[in-house]
Amino acid sequence: MREGRGPGSWETVLAVLRKDLLLELRGLEVVPAMVLFALATLVVFHFGLNRDTVDGQLAAGVLTVTLLFAAMLGINRLFVAEREQGGFDAFLLAPVDRSTLLVAKAMALFLFLAVLEVIAVPAFGLMLLGAPLGRVLPGLIAMLALGDVALAVIGTLVSAIAVHTRARDLIGPIIGLPLLLPALIALARGVGPLMGGHGSVWPPGRWVLILALYDVVFALLAYAVFDFLLED
């Protein structure tokens, strides 16, 4: 479709992704903030629930909420640089498929969330979780990966919408949270049985299915509508 006219879609995605990752590595603002926020949230939960350890479904809920709050920080910041430094215009002028911006930003957000979880989940295991994490790690990682896809897709979509409104920081979370609720439900309920200590090693199939279905539907939907958000 665009043979020889400009860079292919995949190259564009990688180029934008590389730019965002480099910016973050040099500036180190977003991911450290997310990590600190997550750790602080764990402390709040300790005091709020007045417990030394949590396990089972309660633990899954605490972990999900903590990750969600930290993700919101990253989501709010996702397109701010583009908006303030004219990145959107540059992207519109370039001979590339516009939805590649969505893919690139979502992948960047996914990677930020992955780094966040590499630090926050073991911290959670040490600080609050009553049951051992070791044996359920593969299942937990699988669920978290699916959940991160949902957070990345919806986060990117919502951030792109919010960045053009007047109430930037407010609109993103209030739209994003209800949209994310089914995914968060599936994530929390899928991870719950893993946090019991003696339970199964894999999350229940039903929740894996729902979360995967959610990811597919919203990834396709976001890809289809993203073009309309970038027109000027």
Partner: protein, 240 residues
């Protein structure tokens, strides 16, 4: 243009809803489990179904705007979602009354439909703040339509997720025994549902007619007296 057929529609709505209420109180039998309280079902569930269909309808209309670029689809989508929100508020209030009457609490988490509904309402409640925080009218229509499409697709997914989360743990409170409706109840429910759907369409048309009239008055003023005699609209989804 929207006024055409509105009177017939309104009459049909009045007749159907009156018939429905008559059936509810004079024909439908008492529920064995919940007794008289169960009669709320005939107003609560049609409100819920109509609201949800209204949200999906609004999503479809928004998609049409994105496809065609014609502003009229965006206004239709706005009105559809606005109406569905009002029906949704009615759903939540009547649901709360039913919960209080049969379970003792104004809100119950154990009914998956009520919880799904709350989530959907939380989402669509952001529609107007989103719209009115975008100043450029064309961008406002575009972003609102994107939202309508995504949110409309969200409705069925949300119900699946919540139903799966709660269906196997708690019994469904706000439903009928075993889920099987005896024939007389089924008829009453269907008439109520049709009446509610007719009410939605009538009000939608009514609202569109009012908006179109206002726009035409402004356009007329603009044509006759020049551009600057027309004061700009403040918070409005209408283009001019």
């Amino acid at each position: 243009m929207y006024g055409r057929g509105l009177r017939g529609l309104a009459i049909a709505t009045v007749l159907t809803i009156t018939a429905a209420f008559a059936l509810v109180f004079f024909y439908a039998p008492l529920d064995a489990d919940q007794g008289f309280v169960q009669k709320i079902f005939y107003v609560h569930v049609p409100l819920a179904i109509t609201a949800l269909c209204g949200f999906v309808f609004g999503g479809l209309l928004g998609g049409l705007y994105l496809r065609t670029g014609d502003r009229k689809w965006d206004i239709r989508s706005y009105v559809a979602i606005h109406m569905a929100l009002i029906f949704g508020v009615g759903t939540l209030i009547t649901g709360g009354i039913w919960a209080k009457a049969s379970w003792g609490h104004w809100w119950v988490w154990s009914d998956p439909t009520l919880t799904s509904f709350l989530i959907v309402m939380l989402l669509f409640a952001t529609y107007q703040p989103l719209r009115f925080s975008i100043e450029d009218p064309e961008r406002q229509s575009r972003y609102a339509s994107v939202f309508a499409v995504v949110a409309g697709a969200f409705v069925p997914l949300n119900f699946i997720a919540v139903r799966a989360a709660q269906g196997y743990v708690h019994p469904r409170v706000l439903t009928l025994t075993g889920g099987n409706l005896p024939g007389s109840m089924r008829l009453t429910f269907l008439i109520s549902l049709v009446g509610m759907a007719l009410l939605y369409v009538t009000l939608w048309k009514y609202e569109m007619a009012a908006k179109a009239t206002r726009m035409q008055v402004r356009a007329l003023r603009r044509t006759l007296l020049g551009e600057d005699s027309v004061a700009p609209l403040k918070r409005s989804a209408a283009p001019s």
